[in-house]
Structures are given as structure tokens and as C-alpha cells.
Symmetry: C2
């Protein structure tokens, strides 16, 4: 397999983007990444999107991307795995380059969720759960994660305040991210007095409905060293992918995100690193409890210690493992298909030293962890500066 590096990144702001259509978002972020890489065409395109059918009446989205980017003819594939649609698109692109089939490849994650009403957006998102056993019965994601949170509290003594601290950290991190959907100075009291969505989760525990797109350009490391000499090279050191039970009721322990644990183990093995080698991480905080479970599943702390690790401040920008310096899904926003790619962008920019006001000091190896549904799939990607 060829080694693969990231040579260009670009994204739109995340938010309620009323004046940009689905295809506008794809074009805007793709062109930014191509500008950043200084390429004017690519050999192949991958689009990550969860449900452009339900949200925008548009399947066949990768061909729309090729067409509206002025690259008719270029092979284009859409990949989907609910909230890890961006990461599966990156993985497919990575294998395309690693195999030697393509050299310069564009990956764009996108979701335009505000074209439909809020209830239709929630119903659309629910198709990431098990239709027969969950969504058809009326279950939505806040309900699923509320059950996980409640079980985590019961089993490990995780507190309401620890959940709040995830939201507080991520919102306060987002104050330094110009692309973030929300710029709100957050306090635990504000989280806990916000409207209850599904006990124990308040609305300030939940990531929002968002529009946005994020793109990266990847290429084989040998070509990058030859053709992209003035780029700070960030290479894909390891990538692990795993599925988990699609529904909660078939899992042995709903507090354990098995897919994250397996994907993490595979990524560490591939990259030949340990959790202690990771200097910072973007993890999938679709709900505050998810970040806590992920810290555990990724081996950053023992089982049940995610809340305490948060409370100690270890995951703060000045902590021993900064987590979601970008603001995470909670505050940066969560246009579903874009999220996995946006995480890769944050890690790349931090390693490059391009992260502006939120730049971490002396980081060279970071992780992006993307989660599908209530844990039905996960991809963990480890990036390293050359």
C-alpha cells in the first residue's frame, strides 16, 4: 500500500446557511480545498452524505458534485454510513490512492439539513438507527443517548455536572473557531437550565441541526514530496473502521461503544502507536455523553472514568489531552456528512500550525474519531506531521 498524505483542506462555515444550496456547499468547500492544495483538477471524487435523498430529494450526489465543480467525466462516488459518512468517504478515497488506482483525490463531506422542517430533519436523522426496532417505534437519537447516559450514571456514578462540563468546554472552544455554528460563552448552570429534551439530556447536551461542507485533497506521499514541496505534509498514519450493533437492545452493555473500541484498536495497531502517543483528538460529541464514552472506548482513560477525566480538566485545551478544540459537533455544528471530514481538517490544521487562535502548542500527532448513529459504526483516523 502507498502511504497517503493530506495536501489540501477547506470548509464552509457550519450553521443555518439559508443562501447556500446543497450543491453550492459542495462547490464552495471543494474549491477551497483545491485552492489550498493548488490543484485545478483531481483523478477521483468521493462525497460523504448521510441523506441527501430525505433532506434534499437528491441522490446521485457525487455526479452532481463532479458536474457542478466543472469536472464532468471524473469518477465520483458517494459513501454513506450515517454520521460517519464523511469518514467512510475519506476511507474509500484513501484506499483508492493507497491502491495506486488514483493519485489526487477530492473528498467532500456535506449535509444541507435546513431544507426540510425540524420534524422532518429529526425523522431523517432517525433513519440512522434501526428502523424496525427503534425509529419506527418512535425512538429518536436524544432518547437513545439519554438511555446510554442514564446507564452510564447508574453503572459508573457519572454526574450531571460532568455531562455539562463537556458542553461547556466545547462551546468555549468554539468561541475561537470562525467556522463554528454557535458562539456562546457556556456555563454548567446554563446547560442545566436549558430545556430538557430527553432526561437527563438538556438541549445544551445535544449537537444541532446544521448545514455545511468540508473537503480534503489527498495524494500518495511520494507524489506529495515531489509535487507539493511547499506544503507542510500531514500523513494518514492509521485508519481503523468497525461496526457495532445497529440497535441498542442487542448490545451486551450500552455504556460501551464497541465500534469505537474496535476502530480505535485497529487504528492504533495500523499506526503502531498507543493511546498515550495521541497528543490531541477530535471525538464525536453528538451528545455530551458520547464524548465521555469515547474517551473510555479509545483507551484515554479506564472504563467509567470519562466523566472524571473531563472534570479534572484533562480534555481542556491546556489539559494533557485536548479534545474537541474545534468546538466539536456540539458547538461547531453537525452537518452530518461533513462532520467526519471537518474533524480531519481540524487535526490537519493543528498539526500544520494553521489553527489560529485555538492553535495547540507543539502537536504533531492527532486523532479524529467519527461515530455513526448510536454506535452502529465508527472510524478512527490518526494523522501525523512529517
Amino acid at each position: 500500500m502507498r502511504e497517503v498524505a493530506i495536501v489540501g483542506v477547506g470548509m464552509t462555515p457550519f450553521g443555518e446557511l439559508w443562501d447556500l444550496s446543497l450543491r453550492d456547499l459542495i462547490v464552495a468547500s471543494s474549491l477551497k480545498a483545491m485552492d489550498d492544495a493548488k490543484v485545478d483538477t483531481v483523478d477521483s471524487i468521493y462525497v460523504g452524505a448521510m441523506s441527501s435523498g430525505l433532506f434534499n430529494n437528491q441522490e446521485h450526489l457525487a455526479s452532481v458534485a463532479a458536474d457542478y465543480l466543472g469536472m464532468v467525466g471524473v469518477p465520483a462516488t458517494r459513501c454513506e454510513s450515517a454520521c460517519i459518512s464523511g469518514a467512510v468517504a475519506l476511507k474509500a478515497a484513501y484506499l483508492d490512492v493507497a491502491s495506486g488506482y488514483s493519485d489526487i483525490v477530492l473528498v467532500t463531506g456535506v449535509e444541507k439539513m435546513t431544507d426540510v422542517s425540524g420534524d422532518k430533519a429529526v425523522a431523517g436523522l432517525s433513519t440512522a438507527s434501526d428502523d424496525e426496532f427503534e425509529s419506527y417505534q418512535g425512538m429518536t437519537f436524544p432518547g437513545l443517548y439519554a438511555m446510554i447516559a442514564r446507564a452510564h450514571m447508574e453503572k459508573y456514578g457519572t454526574t450531571r455536572r460532568q455531562l455539562s462540563l463537556v458542553s461547556v468546554k466545547n462551546h468555549n472552544n468554539a468561541l475561537k473557531n470562525p467556522y463554528a455554528q454557535f458562539k456562546l460563552k457556556m456555563t454548567p448552570e446554563a446547560v442545566e437550565s436549558s430545556v430538557m429534551v430527553a432526561d437527563p439530556l438538556h438541549i445544551m447536551d445535544c449537537s444541532p441541526i446544521s448545514d455545511g461542507a468540508a473537503s480534503v485533497i489527498i495524494a500518495p506521499l511520494d507524489i506529495v514530496k515531489e509535487r507539493f514541496k511547499d506544503h507542510r505534509i500531514v500523513k494518514v498514519l492509521g485508519l481503523g473502521h468497525a461496526t457495532g450493533s445497529i440497535a441498542l437492545h442487542t448490545r451486551p452493555d450500552i455504556t460501551n461503544l464497541d465500534a469505537v473500541e474496535k476502530a480505535g484498536e485497529r487504528a492504533y495497531k495500523y499506526a503502531e502507536v498507543a493511546p498515550s502517543d495521541i497528543q490531541f483528538a477530535e471525538v464525536h460529541d453528538c451528545f455530551t455523553i458520547a464524548e465521555i464514552c469515547e474517551l473510555e472506548a479509545l483507551g484515554f482513560c479506564a472504563k467509567g472514568e470519562g466523566g472524571k477525566m473531563t472534570e479534572r480538566g484533562d480534555t481542556m485545551p491546556d489539559g494533557k489531552l485536548p479534545v474537541n478544540v474545534s468546538g466539536g459537533l456540539k458547538a461547531k455544528g453537525h452537518p452530518v456528512g461533513a462532520t467526519g471530514v471537518a474533524q480531519i481538517i481540524e487535526v490537519t490544521e493543528q498539526i500544520r500550525g494553521d489553527a489560529g487562535d485555538r492553535q495547540l502548542k507543539d502537536v504533531n500527532i492527532g486523532m479524529a474519531q467519527n461515530l455513526g448513529g448510536s454506535g452502529g459504526s465508527s472510524i478512527v483516523t490518526i494523522l501525523k506531521g512529517e
Copy 2:
């Protein structure tokens, strides 16, 4: 890149399968392919499906597949490109194996279209066209292909009878296919007296709404030679993928399927063969006119000669290039995401000598050509027996 071979195939019957759910279809065809390959697990799963969101309220479909196949944990990705969703899934799986990342990989194409009413199925299918310029304006696929047919008749003198002969051939071929949706002895008069859908296309020019799934197992050639010694080896000799304009109005000439032409050129180049080396083909006859345009785009005849080639009987099972011996989409059925994989199965079975009553004599190299939307994407795959 590692060479890749097909070591297992399996499919469900195509049709209105009222007693099988979406996940039942995936499991049934996947297990058949695994039985055929004599494997009890795989390293990775790819699912091709166009719109399980709109048809079945179920995205995150690859994780459903892993779960219901009893393979929770195995990485699983869904790929989509409208009617070539099956072929893009196969391509992604092919690159996964070719790269060296995975060894034994399952590819399942599926669509369960009868869970929704006919008008919702048509609306769902329309999301494969350009939403802003076509489907939102009320255009459906019979209308788009009717314009292509009319233009082809005007430019090249293609006749109504030539269109009918595509349908007659494919329906009569399907009489020998136990998995085909329709078993109807067809005549030109029956086609031409069937109900008009979009002038000049009658319903007997149109492929149906179908349920079904089709699966293949692929593996690297060196492992196949070692571990699958009693298998008749069919290898992927070449694979070409291209996009075309998503909407008709931006194409220089709507009678020319540019995506098919480019995908074909790429596949021939990759495989180091010429059109004259292809002994038989499965092509994407979603409408009769599509088969005629594809014969031309793939270089099997000159531009404008597809109708005449059909009328001469060249594409009959005993002709110089048998086309759609399986019955094609027209008669075998067209569960959208399954089609690209089912085409690969037909070509594989013919090369293996497993095609039963419809077995062609002495064939060792065949083509599968899958088409997305009205020509927004195409993949051409060339298979060869070792």
C-alpha cells in the same frame, strides 16, 4: 495493485417480494454468495443501495447488513451512485482488496422498492436526476429517456421496431432465467400495443420497479489460487468509471452517453483489450433506447448503428455479441442497487459455465456495464476466466 478475483456469487429472485424485508434480502443474497465461496466471515462489507432512506426509512444500511449477517464489528460501507450503486460498491471493494487493506470482501447490492406506493417509488427514482432542473420541475425517467429516444430517431433514423426488438430479445432471454421478474414471451406487436408511458416509449420499453439483492465475494488472486483451489477463477481484468452531466440540458448531444463512452475507454485501456475482444455483455437496459445508445458508446458499433445492430440479430444469444442473456433490467428486473452486482453475477456465471439453460458456448471474457440516472455515471467492468 493486487489482482482481484470473484470467488462467490449469490442473489435473490428479482420481483415483487412481499414476504422479504430490506434486511432479509441483504442476508439472503449475502449468505448465498458466502456459501458459494465457502467462507464463513469476511474482512469487509460493501453495500450498494440507491435510496434505502426514501424507500425504507433506513440509512446506515451497511451497519444493518453487518449486524443481521452476524458479523458485528466487521467494517461496512454503503456506496451510492443512483442506478450504479451496485457497481460503485464493487469498485470500492475492489480497491479495498487491490490496495492490500482487506482480503476477503463481500459486496451486496440491494433495493426494496415495493415498501412504498408506485408514485413514491417514481418520486424516489427521480432523485437520480438533477433535482433543481429536472425532477423538481416534474420530469421523471421515462420522460428523460423518451427525449433521448426521440433525438436518436431524428438524428440516426432509429425505428420504433428497433426499440421493440431490444425488449423482445431481453424478455425472451429471461424465459431461461429462474431469477427473472417477468417470464413473458414477447413480440414486437405486444411491445407496441402496450400502454404508452412517454412517447415514443411504451411500458414494454421500460424496466420495472423491483425488489431484490445480489452479492459477490472478492479476494486477491494470489490468495484465491492458494485457498480457493476448487473454484473456477474469474478475475477482474479492468474497471472503468466516469461521470456525465447530471441533467440532459447541459449535454452537447443527448444521444451520446458520454459517461458510458469514457468508462468503456478506461476499462478497455485498463484491461488491455478492444471492444472486439468482448465475447458477451450485460448492459444497462433501463429503457430499450439505453441499450441501443450503449452498444454505440461502448464501441460495439458505429454511432447511430445500435438499432441496426439489434435488428441484424447481432445481440441475440446466437449473435456475434450476445447482450443481456440474463434478460437485462427490462425482464430480469431492476432493484436499483442490486443491478450492478447482478450483472457481474451473470458475467461470472457465464464464464464459469454455470448459467444453466442460457449458457453461452465457449465464453471466457465478458463485460458488465452499469448506468446511473439518465447518464450521470457509468461503470464498465471486464471479467475474464483464468
